[in-house]
Amino acid sequence: MDTKEKLDAFQDRIDRGEKIEPKDWMPERYRQQLIRMISQHAHSEIVGMLPEGNWIPRAPSLKRKMVLLAKVQDEAGHGLYLYSATETLGARRQDVVEDYIYGNAKYSSIFNYPTLTYADICVIGWLVDGAAIVNQTMLAKSSYGPYARANLRICREESFHKKQGYEMLAKMASGTDEQKKMAQDAVNRWWWPTLMMFGPPDSDSPNSAELIKWGVKTKTNDELRQSYVDRMVMEAEVIDIKLPDPDLKYNKKTGHWEFGEIPWDEFWAVVKGNGPMNRERIKARKNAYEDGEWVREAAIAYARKQKLKEGKAS
């Protein structure tokens, strides 16, 4: 039972900045919110392997091929320990996975956009991972210990990915005319969707207040979005890339870059399943899951037989 005393004591711990650990008492709602958030994060890592994996076979140099393979491998690793973090909250990996393949669980909508040219890979590194870092830096301070620690580790790797993407994009942006075109076109397509990665505006974000109260998040969607824009405007300028927003302007008073109206209709459409690649992404994951069932069953059957043999031997 989530009695008032327990809830108050819990809130005190959060307010004192203590970390909540798996065996500690926590309100059921806190547990559920965390499972939802962490599993969404995990699904995003896994679905994110698809648009990037799309360019592994076509990467334009062996070095870039290896960089991309290593990056996608890192994403799988992130997925793995995030799923483990949900398990510390009592969730079962199978249920959590089936929830987004067959159910309504979400993953980051950004991965419902296609990677059309190799420049998209660079832009995913720079902008998408850049946005993720802003978010995860905050989550590394999250009140739930295992999630905070997972984000700390993820952030370190994402920073590396971001650097790699940015460097290659800089090369393309100062390369041949075709490379410049690919680079700018990719930024034009990905810029707005990356702004949407921080979620709906604060005025329209139902979970935010509660998550902030519980220290799961420490900043609002709009605050995070603003710090992302401020950073990216500078970085774009350095490599001679134009951000596709005619309304971008610096506000001396606030010290922030103001930006134009985010196409929220598109955001909600993609969240609801109507983005350019939603169906393909889910289908690819569903196929992998179902085609792999016999493999997972074989591993279980084999382990069982081995155990039996060991039992007989001893």
């Binding site: 990467a59 140099s61 290896m66 491998q73 090369k171 490379q179 084999y302």
Partner: protein
């Protein structure tokens, strides 16, 4: 031997052939493994297959890089991106489509087992320090690839009825492509005479004993060893599967050859 194959007359020529044969096997195998990325049967295997793919492509890149140094080519990418299918020297086994998980794992097992013995012998034979250092580094990773794939052969063979059937089918399908491991052509023989390659037939028995021993433990049937064996890929006589693979791999680089992509 194909009409354009040239038997190496000097040690340098032989060395180049050895490096490219080893590298092409690894690049193409790595490419096939990388196709699993995001589509593996479980997350742990997505990671493992990507890891092996990365090792394979890394081995290829360092071997190509040495070849480029010897031959005066710009860099390792020249060999991966600017040669046509008839120039590739990989065995056909590695270019076959990835198939199901049983096919992929079985191929990796057979290839890793072969690489294990081949590298073990090469390390004893090769005097060139840079090359030998490379072989030793790769050898460590090959041991892991072999262990990983062997464990899966056991799991699938002695797992469920379905997994058993699938990997048995893979054995029967793949076996005709294993002959190229041990077929020595005149180029290999020249390389052996310069102490740059090893007589692979010398460890064929050991390889068979490891492979068949694993099959037996996994309750799998030995393949028919008396069947037609594919031959000629090392001389550019490939299957039809290599062309589309290269078309995909090379298209961007070849579309913009003057651009910087590193």
């Amino acid at each position: 031997m194909s009409t354009f194959d040239k038997i190496p007359e000097t040690k340098e020529e032989a060395f180049l052939e050895v490096l490219l044969r080893l590298a092409d096997d690894r690049l193409i195998h790595g490419h096939r493994l990388s196709e699993w990325c995001g589509h593996g049967p479980e997350l742990e295997e997505d990671l493992a297959l990507a890891n092996v793919a990365l090792d394979m492509i890394g081995h290829a890149a360092s071997l190509y890089s040495y070849a480029a140094q010897l031959e005066g080519k710009p860099d390792e990418d020249y060999y991966a991106y600017f040669r046509d299918d008839i120039d590739f020297k990989n065995i056909a086994l590695v270019e076959l489509p990835k198939g199901d998980f049983a096919f992929t794992i079985l191929r990796q097992f057979l290839f890793s087992a072969f690489s294990f013995f081949n590298y073990r012998e090469l390390i004893k034979t090769v005097k060139d320090e840079q090359f030998n250092g490379m072989l030793q580094k790769h050898f460590k990773e090959i041991k892991y690839h072999l262990r990983h794939s062997r464990e899966w052969v056991l799991r699938l063979g002695d797992g469920t009825e379905e997994s058993h059937r699938r990997i048995q089918e893979a054995i029967d399908e793949i076996w005709m492509y294993t002959g190229e491991f041990f077929h020595l052509d005149d180029i290999d023989k020249a390389a052996i005479s310069f102490n740059l390659y090893t007589d692979t037939s010398a460890f064929k028995k050991e390889w068979e004993s490891l492979v068949f021993g694993t099959f037996e433990e996994a309750t799998l049937q030995k393949p028919d060893n008396d069947q037609y064996m594919f031959e000629g890929a090392r001389s550019g006589r490939h299957t039809e599967y290599l062309g589309p693979l290269l078309a995909q791999m090379q298209f961007l680089r070849r579309s913009h050859p003057e651009a910087e992509w590193k």
